[in-house]
Each structure stands twice: as C-alpha cells, then as structure tokens.
C-alpha cells in the first residue's frame, strides 16, 4: 500500500470516530466496561495464583526424629533423606531451634512456652522442601520407611485440597476472561455494524466507483482499533490507581497470613499493557467481523 493511501485511511479512521458521535461513545463505553471487568479478573486471578504459589512453596515435610536417636543416627538419616530425587533442600533444626520458632510463632502467648526452655520436650527435626510441591506426599511416604523416625508431618489433607482449589481457580478464571473478551468483541462488532449501516450509502458509492474491499475495510479497521485503544484508557487508569491504593495503603494496614499481593511495579504496568493490547485486539476483531458481511460484492 502507498504511504499516501495509508495516511488517508488513518485520517478517515480518526474522522469517523468524531463523525459517529454517540455511536462512538457507545462502542468505547462497551469496551471500557468489559476491559474494567477483564482487568479486575486478571488482577484477582493472577494474585490468587501468586498466593497459591506462595502457599505451595511453603509446603514442607517436617521429619521429627526419635528422641532415642544418637547424633550419628541423625546424620545417617539426613544423608539418606538427601538421596531422594524429588528433594530440593534438607535443613536440620535442633529441638532448641524448634522451640524458638514455636515461641516466635505464638507471638505474645509464646511467653508461656519459655518455661520449657529448661526441659525441652520437642524433637530434633529435618525440614524438607520438595522440588515440586506436588511431590510432597511421595517424599513423606518414602521417609516414613526410614529408621529413627518419630513422625512425618506435612498436612496431608490441606495440601491436596489446596492443589485442587488452585487448579480449579485457574480454570474458572481463564474461562471467565475468555468469555468476557468474546462478549466485548460481540459488543464492539455490533456497534461498528451500526456505524457501517449508517454509512452504507458511502460504502455503496465506494464500491460503485471501483474501490477494492481492502480499501473500504482499512478505515473501519483503524476506527475499531482506535475505539478499542481509547476504551482501554479508563480501565488502565482505574487499574493503576486502584491497585496502587490496595497494595500501598490497604494491605499494609491489614495483616492476613498468606495474603501477599504482587508488587505494584512491574505487575500493574504489565497488566496495563495487556489490557491495552486486548482493547486494540477487540476493536480490530470487532470491526473485521462486521465489515466482512457488508463487503460481499
């Protein structure tokens, strides 16, 4: 295509946006609403995902060692555990360290446990992390078979439920987003269809004087893309402002375990870019779908 022609299409596309007045407002409005929803869902799903990953990472296997085991026995046990393939790290935690972390973990109430510092009833332990959180159960089973084991803890029920929940949340989230994007495409293609019908005379004349379909299509293509991009402005602004507020103001004041959001930078900007691209894509797709039907010779 000639540069001159491309310029003409750009000019026409921009002009059409102003020419179509309320129709333009309606299209942009529908894109805006949809992208707001998509942005909200994306933020929620990705953060849930992030939290789930955090929780998954925190899943450990704690091997409590029999009090009767000697230092050599403990060392041998540690070496044997290290031989298991799926294991990422094995850390020894003495019973004093165990008590310390227990006292810290209890906060104010931990004070009363300090009494036990004289006669610590806890066991030495190995704290094991799996390479893949889903292998936790297998690892625990293997270790159970070793000698000098008092108990192997890994929160069996919680872990399997957590994995199941995370998997479902991701699927539901993706379905919702795809559904929303298609709704937006449908909405914008309908609105562009209306603007095309309003300009069917113009298209008719263009065809009559021998304009190619590509030539007729371009301005609509650009108009759609611009509608989508403009429609993404408010959602992006809302996303940046809203997420900034939540991350920097709200979350800091309320402390909930595991409730750790993705940091504002770069996450919010990445999502903004995604929203912008989805907007442009929705616009282009919507316009292509509606123009196609009008151009059958």
């Amino acid at each position: 295509m000639k540069i001159r022609t491309l310029k003409r299409h750009l000019r026409e596309g921009v002009k059409n946006i102003f020419r179509n007045g309320w129709m333009t407002v309606a299209s942009i409005g529908s894109v805006t609403v949809t992208l707001l929803l998509v942005a909200a869902f994306l933020v929620i799903i990705l953060n849930l995902n992030h939290m789930a990953e955090k929780v998954e990472e925190d899943v450990i296997v704690k091997v409590l060692i029999d009090v009767a085991a000697s230092d050599d026995d403990i060392k041998t046990l540690g070496d044997e555990i290290k031989k298991i393939n799926q294991i990422e790290s094995v850390v020894f935690s003495s019973k004093d360290e165990e008590l310390d972390s227990l006292i810290k973990g209890m906060g104010k109430e931990g004070k009363s446990w300090e009494l036990f510092e004289q006669d610590n009833p806890l066991n030495h332990a190995y704290i094991i992390k799996a390479k893949e959180p889903k292998d936790t159960a297998v690892i625990a089973e293997k270790i159970r078979g070793f000698d000098h084991i008092y108990r192997v803890n890994y929160g069996k029920e919680v872990v399997s439920q957590l994995f199941e929940f995370n998997k479902n949340a991701r699927i539901v989230g993706i379905i919702l987003i795809v559904g929303l994007v298609f709704t937006a495409i449908f909405l914008i293609s309908n609105t562009i269809k209306l603007t095309i019908m309003a300009r069917s005379t113009e298209i008719g004349i263009m065809k009559l004087v021998g304009a190619t379909n590509g030539f007729i299509r371009w301005p609509f293509f650009i108009e759609g893309m611009l509608l989508g991009m403009i429609g993404s402005i408010i959602p992006i602004a809302a996303l940046l402002a809203g997420y900034y507020y939540i991350v920097e103001k709200l979350v800091i004041s309320v402390q909930i375990p595991f409730f750790e959001l993705l940091p504002f930078y770069p996450f919010a900007w990445q999502i903004s870019l995604v929203i912008f691209l989805i907007g442009a894509l929705i616009g282009v797709w919507g316009s292509i779908m509606s123009v196609r039907r009008f151009l059958k010779v």
Partner: protein, 228 residues
C-alpha cells in the same frame, strides 16, 4: 463492447426479470432503454455493471464475462464503467469537489492527477464556481451534474444512467441531456434508462424497448413508443 446472449434472470423471490435477452452495443453508441415500470429495465442496466449476474446466458462487457469475474476483480471491472442514478447518490457531508475527487481517491490516484481531472470535469458540467458547495446547497439539476461528473472523472468507456432526469423538471432535464451528449461526442458509450418521451423522441438515438423481461423493439433511430 457490450454483448448479451440469451440472458435470463430469475430472482430468489421467483420474479423473472429478464426472459431471454440478446443484444449488442458498440463503442460510442448512445442507447435509450425504455419500457413500462417493472419491465426489467433496471435489471438490464444492473447486468452491465455487474450489480446482478445472469441466472443463465452470457453477459460480456469490455471483453469480460461478468459471470466469470472473481469478486476481487469486480472493483477493477467497475472502474471502466460510470453510473448515474435518479437520486444522485452524493455524499451529503462532502463538498462538490470532494464528492468528485472521492471517486479518484478510492482508486488511489495521485493528488496531482485528482486535482487536474476534477477541475476538468467541473468545467465540463459547468460547476467550477460551485466546487466548494455542499450538495444540499445546489439545485436538483446541479446535483445531477455533480453525480455525472463523478461518473466520468475516471474516464470510463461506458456511462450507465438509470432515469437520470426522473427527479428533474423539463428545462433542467435538457441541461442534463446536453451534458450526456457532450460526453458521448467524446467517444463514451452511454446507456440510459428513461421514462421521458420528450427526450427520447427529440434525440433520435437507438432505442431498446423492454417488456416483461424481453426486448420487444430495437431501432437505431427510435421513438419512445409509449404514452407518458
């Protein structure tokens, strides 16, 4: 230039608009197409610029069989045919100049050529001083001259006019006919469907009469042949 052989056209709603039409029109001819309303004149005209395709039979225009044209070839086929309508079909938001230039813009002519050619045709239809007017600021006759200018700005081989004077008073109609005469004198083939007895009888050109989808009369210096 235009050849139809045994052309039938049946629309999906069951109406048979053309019922075995065969005709030859040579380059440079001026042809009137007459007949009662609903006789098939419009379908005949639309056949030429491939707005409709024949159900059976052959339509050949400028050497192209319209049934065999691919969709993407149609725009290029139409660039060699100018069309004028009863209702002018001008874009109301564009000026006279822009309306005419539009026809060249969409075929990607250079701006220099566009300016030159638009000024030429404005001169021909005598509207040079109204180039900046909007269509609704013009009289009906002037609007029709703009639409003729748009049809010929691309220097087509054939100009097709579907009742171009249908909405105009007699004086204005003559004005329009003079423009068509001039275009024809420059070698352009003109095919015009009309209901105007006065025009046809005065001009003494080839007349093709269509009734019930069939050509019932084809005279080289014909008369209108119907009561108005």
């Amino acid at each position: 230039m235009i050849k139809m052989e045994n052309v039938f056209k049946k629309y999906p709603n069951g109406v048979t608009a053309l019922n075995g039409v065969s005709i030859h029109i040579e380059k440079g001819e001026f042809v009137y197409v007459v007949g009662p309303s609903g006789a098939g004149k419009s379908t005949f005209i639309k056949m030429i610029y491939r707005e409709v395709k024949p159900t059976t039979g052959l339509v050949e225009v400028n050497g192209a069989n319209t049934s065999e044209l691919k969709d993407k070839e149609v725009p290029f086929f139409r660039r060699r045919i100018g069309v004028v309508f009863q209702d002018f079909k001008l874009l109301s938001k564009l000026t006279v100049y822009e309306n005419i230039a539009f026809a060249l813009e969409v075929i990607e002519e250079s701006p220099r050529n566009i300016r030159k050619r638009v000024m030429e045709v404005l001169e021909l239809v005598d509207l040079k001083n109204k180039a900046r007017f909007l269509p609704n600021e013009l009289s009906g006759g002037e609007q029709q001259r703009v639409s003729i200018a748009r049809a010929i700005v691309n220097r087509p081989d054939i100009v097709i006019a579907d009742e171009p004077t249908g909405n105009l008073d007699p004086d204005t109609s003559w004005e329009i006919m003079r423009v068509f005469e001039e275009i024809n004198e420059r070698g352009t083939t003109i095919i015009m469907a009309t209901h105007s007895k006065e025009i046809v009888n005065k001009m003494k050109r080839r007349v093709i009469a269509i009734e019930s989808g069939m050509i019932v009369r084809d005279e080289s210096r014909g008369e209108y042949g119907y009561e108005n």
